[in-house]
Symmetry: C2
Subunit: 258 residues, 2 copies
């Protein structure tokens, strides 16, 4: 594909990771926008030749692709104020917002959603991150697909409906399982045990789930129907109604999905 | 330490991994016991010079360490029938059974518990697996500790009470989080999406939890207090009372542990 002229709207973690990856892939990042010009400068300074701006009027910009990487509830505000050259493509990067949020303006809407959690200062292999893309016509789809392929090996056309499902599944698989790690670390702490005792077991559990699928990988008292061990565990949690309740519910759910 | 003369009681996954690791560390595995002599033979054949047996009379064995790696509910039966040379050390490998289960017999009880999930045919670096050990006197403790150190970099003296806590925490961190992966894959499947779209995100979530701790690593709508997104997710789950309920409970728990 030809190298693109791009502007990045936003200067948070997603903006940082995308801007650096797109530049590394050969594209030009002409501007970085943030309401906070200091933040725009920090990111622009990390790029080859990029102007920091705190104004959404891009009518004289050389870019034809604009990537909105701002918090979900700011996308609409940005879209309303955004002025871009005619026929420019404007893509948001949100897992939970439909493409519609960018409709009705004087630009081509698209979605350019990297399915990953980005942490400042943490390098990760963006080539392995699935990019979920969407557009309203073939030409825009082709453009956003080609762009995604320059940074990732895994590019999927995903509808706004499917993206909702994906986001919900990610909450279960990531936010909720991370919370279970947190609860486990609380349980250990109360008995003066370190969470890192579980590191090797957690790492292997996840490897196994990704390798053979979580259904086949399941072990433990609930799937075995080991009532004695479950009873012992519930007895240990008798003074902690929250964990007691979660233990019961999750065990029942394991049995119900067997 | 001196190399030990060891017999392995059991021929399941734990027995396989321990026998191979102990032999690799220089110890001698004299016998492998299984009720099913074919299984005993399979493991014994994978070892340098080991006899398969289906009888628990080890009085003439050259071993002074006996490792019981059988299902939890079989440990007591084995202990009752086991005949070993005077002063032999007998260690079980269970995360959920107290050391008491080996008391009252003519041998020295101990615990030699590798905190890991072992899968047949899956190699893992046993040096990284924490070994939780316990014994009733200093001499036995020293022996079982030295033995564990020959196979693992991480050996911890853990009481039976603490081991219960550890096992409970492992159910939360591993069985339950694996179940959440399973639920996530069901959610995706219903919308014709592949679970492996989440691989990169799950791997990074776990890396982050292990690196900076799960409390600091938490992201998502619940911790942000993003009621709008939570409402949308609950609406998607309206026909699935099980997931609807779990979503609510886990979100509440995230907020309560903030």
């Amino acid at each position: 594909m030809k190298y693109q002229q791009i502007s990045i709207i936003g200067a948070g973690n997603v903006a940082w990771h995308l801007a650096l990856a797109l530049e590394r892939a050969g594209h030009t990042i002409n501007e970085v926008y943030s309401r906070d010009i200091i933040k725009a400068e920090q990111l622009a300074n990390s790029l080859y030749n990029s102007d920091p701006v705190d104004d959404l009027d891009f009518e004289t910009s050389a870019s034809d692709v604009f990537i909105i990487a701002v918090p979900d509830d700011a996308i609409e505000v940005v879209a309303r104020q955004l002025l871009v050259p005619t026929n420019a493509l404007v893509a948001h990067t949100s897992g939970s917002q439909p493409i519609d949020i960018l409709m009705g303006y004087d630009f081509e809407p698209a979605v350019f959603y990297p399915l990953q959690t980005f942490t400042k200062g943490t390098e990760l292999d963006i080539q392995e991150v699935p990019f979920c893309i969407e557009a309203l016509n073939a030409e825009s789809l082709k453009l956003v697909q080609a762009l995604a392929k320059t940074v990732s090996r895994r590019v999927e056309i995903i509808s706004s409906e499917q993206r909702k499902t994906l986001h919900l599944a990610a909450v279960f698989a990531c936010n909720f399982s991370n919370h279970l790690f947190h609860l486990a670390s609380n349980v250990l702490e109360a008995d003066e045990l370190e969470f890192d005792l579980l590191h090797s077991l957690i790492a292997e559990t996840v490897n196994k789930a990704l390798e053979i699928g979580p259904a086949r990988a399941q072990t433990g008292p609930a799937i075995r129907g080991d009532q004695r061990t479950m009873k012992k565990h519930l007895d240990l949690l008798v003074d902690n109604p929250e964990l007691h309740n979660l233990y019961q519910q999750l065990s029942q759910s394991i049995v119900a999905n067997k």
